[in-house]
Symmetry: C2
Subunit: 343 residues, 2 copies
């Protein structure tokens, strides 16, 4: 095996474990030449999934004797599960055997373990979770999505620096537009942390466009929207809820009678395009930013298509040297901040 690029997959994570992770891994490899994957977890369970499938030496298994439960306390997982598939996958990144890892496991445990094993980049107080959502003009990235429930202004500022650099690195945008989520476009609204973060962002050299509101996320006029983890998680879940409600209403409506079934047939190409465009699987894969290594969180309920997408994001972040680039930007902004503070 001499692949220049290796990704470790937590094969036991998520609602479906190896039955999703292994097929997704093989799908991914069938489209790539220069990537190797390490399947981390219960060897027997992984072999069972591999046995009837075509695969080559780019797939290897790394046995791990434990698995982290989806509802396990992060602190307990960290203390008691030193040979979990999640932990070993992250260890492989730490050791340089893999350049990234992907897990559909317990978000809290993944963040705690990644932070403990890999450590944060210099100047980053807290790692954040970022993902893309569809918008009118493509997609918008949101962070933080749940790693940090109480954030100070400086945390929000760091999220902005990291999110902006991720977009620059991965999408090649020179100056991504960064917005700060607030509850009014007027400067009079919002809580203290948000107002202070606004001050910090207004005087830095990011392409900061100011406050944005919840509905602006989906207009696509900004590339990155910054918020604390509680708010971000609510925004993301609420969006999923609305999309599901509307989608179900439509499909139920078209199935109501033979007349609506016929009109549904006529509208099928459009409804299918609708489903494809807003398919959450296309957006599966959130990055844990601010760590000394690449860690991608897949949705726990991801299927093989969705999980494959998360592997693709890991690959892209390796190619784009995301952690190194973020480290540089954080250093520049810290330096700039120090100079400005010194007058």
């Amino acid at each position: 095996m001499n692949a220049p690029l290796t990704i470790a997959l937590d094969a036991m994570g998520g609602d479906f474990g190896p039955s999703v992770v292994v097929p997704a891994a093989l799908d991914f490899l069938s489209k790539r030449r220069d990537v190797a994957l390490i399947l981390v977890g219960n060897e027997e369970a992984i072999r069972e999934q591999l046995k009837d499938a075509q695969h080559d030496e780019r797939v290897t298994i790394r046995h791990a004797s434990q698995a982290v439960a989806m509802d396990e306390l992060p602190s307990k997982a960290l203390r008691n599960k030193k040979d979990s598939s999640m932990r070993v996958a992250i260890d492989l990144v730490k050791e340089g055997v893999a350049q990234a890892c992907v897990s559909a496991g317990n978000t809290g445990a993944l963040m705690a373990t990644a932070r403990f094993v890999l450590k944060t980049l210099p100047g980053v107080d807290r790692p954040a979770i970022i993902t893309a959502v569809p918008s009118q003009h493509g997609s918008t990235h949101l962070l933080d999505l749940g790693a940090n429930v109480d954030c100070s202004a400086i945390h929000l500022f760091q999220f902005a620096v990291m999110g902006s650099e991720l977009i620059t690195a991965v999408e090649g945008l020179a100056a991504p537009k960064v917005g700060l989520l607030n509850i009014g476009e007027e400067e009079i609204k919002g809580n203290e942390q948000v107002k202070q973060a606004h001050e910090l962002l207004s005087t830095c050299d990011l392409n900061y466009v100011g406050y944005v509101e919840g509905d602006d996320i989906y207009l696509g006029d900004v590339d990155v929207v910054v918020m604390d983890g509680f708010v971000g998680n609510v925004a993301l879940k609420t969006s999923e809820g609305v999309a599901k409600l509307l989608g179900r209403f439509l499909s139920r409506s078209f199935k109501q009678s033979w007349l609506t079934r016929i009109s549904g047939l006529a509208a099928l190409p459009i409804l299918n395009r609708f489903r494809r465009t807003f398919d959450p699987r296309r957006y599966n894969g959130a990055s844990l930013l601010g760590l000394r290594g690449i860690v991608i969180k897949s949705h726990g309920g991801a299927d093989r298509i969705a999980f494959e997408n998360a592997i693709r994001i890991a690959e892209k972040e390796i190619h784009c040297n995301v952690p190194e680039r973020i480290a540089q930007q954080v250093a520049i902004h810290l330096d700039d901040g120090r100079k400005r503070a010194a007058g």
Copy 2:
């Protein structure tokens, strides 16, 4: 004029002022016998709107020399606009001339003025804003939606009591299901305020169902979802953003070619039902709960159909004695809390 029920309308509020408020008022009256409306604002501008329209003595005008701007600081509006249409409409409720008022004006100013003029009910620390959103099984009520950006556990608890009683009063549900918005169903997640509010709610006699997440709002399994104002405002605006994104995608898709136009025609009844069901105008009208009087906030961009809906909500809350009923419930829960605290 001897109508048993009078509602004061801030005719100058919102993006369109009298050109929306006056027609909405007349539409509303054409369907009612026992309600009178007072149009508060610039007399000339209101007369201009009334002049070609049919109306009877149930419409009266109350001149007010000022108007509150949509971006005016609430504290300034309160200090400098003592003869604004908004202030006078609220004064009419205070004086008992009207039993409720409706305004599409600046939310912050409306809340500040209403709180100053009407005062909060005994035992209520902070009034909250509540509205309904569509869900799988009808609708779900959310509060707070922006009045309170930083909330303690006791504030969230009071919101739950008020929201629950509103549903009981207005929708006749004996024990509405109350959920507390959090970012994980497991008890390990969430911020301190939310965890403490969960403790308070778990031991009170509301029909508290526990934590819910953003996507649960639209499932309709709970009747009331409680959250702080920052989170609530983001949840609401984000939902609007997603609904607009999906709606625009659909209508644009159906207009793409003559083929899609034909399939759009076939699907028209369903698309129209979709639009009707999720028409935000049907949900226009948020209540300011916890005050000694009924104040309804209409969306600033409301058209006549939407504004009429807000008047209808005001009428319903008068019929149901909402403030009195909330006062009673708050008293019971305070008493119960005191007893429990005393062991």
